[in-house]
Symmetry: C2
Subunit: 253 residues, 2 copies
Amino acid sequence: MNTLLLTPADLSPSAAPGLRRACVGGRRADHLRRELGIAPGSRIRVGLLGEGLGRGEVTSVDDDRVGVAFAVTEPPPAKLPLTLVVGLPRPKVARRLLIDAVAAGIDRIVLVGTWRTPKSYWQSPLLQPRRIDEHVLQGLGFGGDCIAPRVELRPRFKPFAEDELPRLAREATAVLATPEADTDLRPAPPGPVVLCIGPDRGFTGYEQELLRAAGCQPATLGPRTLRVHAAVHVAIGRLFREATPAPHALRVI
Amino acid sequence: MNTLLLTPADLSPSAAPGLRRACVGGRRADHLRRELGIAPGSRIRVGLLGEGLGRGEVTSVDDDRVGVAFAVTEPPPAKLPLTLVVGLPRPKVARRLLIDAVAAGIDRIVLVGTWRTPKSYWQSPLLQPRRIDEHVLQGLGFGGDCIAPRVELRPRFKPFAEDELPRLAREATAVLATPEADTDLRPAPPGPVVLCIGPDRGFTGYEQELLRAAGCQPATLGPRTLRVHAAVHVAIGRLFREATPAPHALRVI
């Protein structure tokens, strides 16, 4: 965790104008105390979900709660204009993928069912809405962001590929990453991008046909087969050459 | 597993010239039987460690062994000319990172100790030489490769950065990925590349100084902080724009 991500539910009443107060427990308090070794007076980076980023100071530490005072002083980093359509991997991998994809700034993540996705994966506790929200919050904290991306589950591939994807692809640079393509995945021109990546062992031929019919152009990441999590991140590196953002003026409170 | 990776120890005597035989058990046999559902007569892709790739046919399947006949017909894909110097992450993450870094074709992987690497990590069973060999073989199988990269453990940061790294960096495009850099990580020119990536929470300022003194230029992957595994793969995507390789002429046996 690089940024302590707060949600509106963590806020406490505060008297001072501009200065806000919050109190966190659980995983976040543990991490602050044990791994970052914070104490009253420690300065930390803070994000408030849906609002912005800023600096905070730890005001209290006890067994299971950490209190902070903070001010929101800057906007979050811009999202990558990317919709990731990815074949649902094993639930534990899906969790890691969600956390890292959110940290990387992906704007919209669609987990789709495929021929090679066992149906049982969808029943995993790790994919319950409450758990998905947790993965998203963890990813935002790692990445230093505070705007939650859209995460959508589409267990049925065909209705998604035929009814939803064409509209997304029409307004975007839409690519299907597959080792069988003749052309390399190249940097995307400015504007929205849709990236489709199969589950481990890939989309079937029929699924690839549906994705192509929906407007996605095949492109390859190279001659080597990568596992889903690695493939997503290599593809992000290829597609986006983001300019170094202007440094934010940090107002230390 | 996309390619059944065989080692010389798996080979059985074979009478037919050009045709070789092997027998595998354990994890590989399980995977072939349960996940790929192979049966006698199934065709599979095969790699022979240190030699090359080819096609094989399953000749026998019993409870815990799978026999194949195969021929080596093509060279492995070229490695990325990359030496990855990475702060040792948690052992379970290190295992995943090794597997995926090998699958991606990294030529040399140096796991280094850093200020933020707990010393206990080096004692993990997952980092014993025999286990590292297993991770490498798994990565080669996923990536469709058969040439093992060098994997080196350097628990002591300073001797590595001062005595070994300058020589590596002198002959290469050498970069230090850090969110604090002013310039973006760009595609590497042809030739060897050295990429240094810190552990989670990054290299310390002093470590970064040593890396810069060794010849590594700071560059950023963007305003967001990524976890080690994700950062390595985004960086690979940025650095290497490999041309689509000429399709290999596959001789089906």
